[in-house]
Symmetry: C2
Subunit: 442 residues, 2 copies
Amino acid sequence: MSNKSKIVTPSILPGFMELLPEEQMEFNRMRSIIEEIYQNSGFSPIETPLIEKNEILLAKGGGETEKQIYGIDSKSKDMSLRFDLTVPLARYVSQHFSDLQFPFRRYQIEKVFRGERNQKGRYREFYQSDIDIIGHNSLSPLYDAEIPSIIYRIFTALGFEAFKIHINNRKILNGLFDYLEINDTAKTLQILDKIDKIGLENIIKLLLEIGLSSFQIDSITDFIQIQGTQVEVIEKLKSLPYINNDIFMSGLNELEELNNMVQAFGVPLSHYVFDLKIARGLDYYTGTVYETYLDDFKNIGSVCSGGRYDNLAEYYTKESLPGVGISIGLTRLFYQLNAANFTNCNKKKHSKLLIIPMSQNENLEAAKIASSLRQNKISCEVYMDNSKFKKKMNYANKIGIPFVLILGEDEINSSNYTLKDMKDGIQEKYNLEDLISLLLKK
Amino acid sequence: MSNKSKIVTPSILPGFMELLPEEQMEFNRMRSIIEEIYQNSGFSPIETPLIEKNEILLAKGGGETEKQIYGIDSKSKDMSLRFDLTVPLARYVSQHFSDLQFPFRRYQIEKVFRGERNQKGRYREFYQSDIDIIGHNSLSPLYDAEIPSIIYRIFTALGFEAFKIHINNRKILNGLFDYLEINDTAKTLQILDKIDKIGLENIIKLLLEIGLSSFQIDSITDFIQIQGTQVEVIEKLKSLPYINNDIFMSGLNELEELNNMVQAFGVPLSHYVFDLKIARGLDYYTGTVYETYLDDFKNIGSVCSGGRYDNLAEYYTKESLPGVGISIGLTRLFYQLNAANFTNCNKKKHSKLLIIPMSQNENLEAAKIASSLRQNKISCEVYMDNSKFKKKMNYANKIGIPFVLILGEDEINSSNYTLKDMKDGIQEKYNLEDLISLLLKK
């Protein structure tokens, strides 16, 4: 054993989530629900390396990305931690193009890294849970209607009753801007995207600043305030002068078709709205866009966002790869729900049973029983340290295990074991066979 | 859309595994089996950040580690990618000491990074699948007997019949060295650990080089060649003069007790051996050590190794944390088995069924059927692009989907849908209810 001179204070870097085991299990439960539904919907899993070449990650160049990237300091300076799952997906589909079948449906639930300013609930390492459906040359807009059905099933399965998927179509906005002869559509969209954060008045100010006329601004603000049922919104849109614009009309047609298909895919009318102010800042969205809000956790902001894009991978291939996808920021969602006590992390344990031998003489029998139970898919563990009984029961209490099996000399001689239900404290004796069938039921 | 000037060739860095979807699914299947059995044995999952402080990772200082580490190039030079899951575990247990219950049983299946020289089958990013049982101040040696039962169940569940867990106890070797008055036990162990790679003759040469006498070397070589059934090995050890050494005898007692307990935990005699030449180079192992070899893949080397250690976290806490653990190098194992065609990655798909609408008129009905099937836990997808029927069937063939549901006007009018079994090509008509029960059975 080497001599140690000093103790390094154990700590992690700020901005990294690390959970206690019971929290991790709850996190994993949520992760599994998502994964199961992705699988159930025909998406294939992939994983991509956490480190990518800088020429891949920075192909688009400049901007926030370059500032937020974690570089890898090795002999060369050409690799970095990935900052999302979309860039690796684009590289993946381009690289393996001839091995993939299109439409290509993939899910990916993995960690990404961003050197963000450190603040509560913002992590520098976090899970993204992405799905994308990618076509080659074309992908029917009908696929855009399937996405909300997946969002709906996920948040229902996660235990939420009240939430709404906000849907818009960028073509409608683009058509409006085109009709109104607004030139800087990118900046206008970016401003509109901030409406929930800064409010309508500030939006108007910003639009004035970039030089829009009051007629243009009034038209936009009237437009984004259109509300009503799905059919009402569509009818209102049809009554506007903008329908004379081709782009607008194309978006409106897509929205109407999507409305029918979304319902056919099983999303109740109560769980989605057409929200004309949803813009999604990113300029690669070109059609349908989504945001998802939990009624009881509006302050979290959108918990699941995405949309339709014309070309996934223009930096890595000349193939045209339109697609539609969404992302759930699982780490942040988990943090917020956990802080609001919505999750149930307390006293979680994979084991159903702790076997406590009264003395070292019963260890052998305890191991045999554990082996039988595990073969019967009953998770259990044995307390094999030679401690006082009180310490063993204390451990059982602390880990929140549902059942304890107490093994003394009498129990082993009679092959009848004392099972203690830790919830009500009731003890009863069972032989191994009855024990197995009882625990399988519970 | 921005103008692109050049295409960056999509590629990943050498030394990173990346799988096609069907391979990823097989990888995940293996990963799940391991995870399920870990859970079934009462281990809790944890995840730790991929990036740790350098003062944590390099607390022990020097050696190979410092050379292999990937540094993170950010404003500061104080963070790096982790190179194993043991150092993060040590930091984790130290940091969260007062929140954990001991014995603490954790599993962790995550990626680690090492800047190794690039060669086939050696990855710079790879999965480790670890379990550890960690005590506070003490941990009964009986826990050492539980570990082989977990190894046994994992490799059986992964589909292997012929494999052997090689078990030794470092105290036996240390007692032998003590009796023989060998001073440099660390170097001697390191040399012994190479026996499978370089053979007995070279071992003898190396032992001569570090100054051992021929009597010492003869004693060691005689000793490590002891073979036989578990009981035979124990009896032979009992007949040796070394039993007068306390350390030796303590190790022998542990081995004998372990032998009884391993069987009680359900490991057949056919699947473990006592192998006195197993040393495990790492100097933190202090008791039982394990290696696991697959009979049909001996060239892979040990597929699951580990052992007992006196103190997990001496660099991060003054608490005494003895433990026992193992690690499976899942990425490397997967690579080797895949190369040997032992895995079954071909034509894997989460979806059981592809719904093919004959024209755009049947899309709405297709969505409704998909929604019903998914609610009944039948994974499926809809081909919604307006392509030729041949192209749709071609997609079905390429993705290896077991069933196709063909939806034409007749099918929808009669509510009887044509199901094609892609294996035998047989088509039959079913209503929705019968379709669901049929697909649930298949």
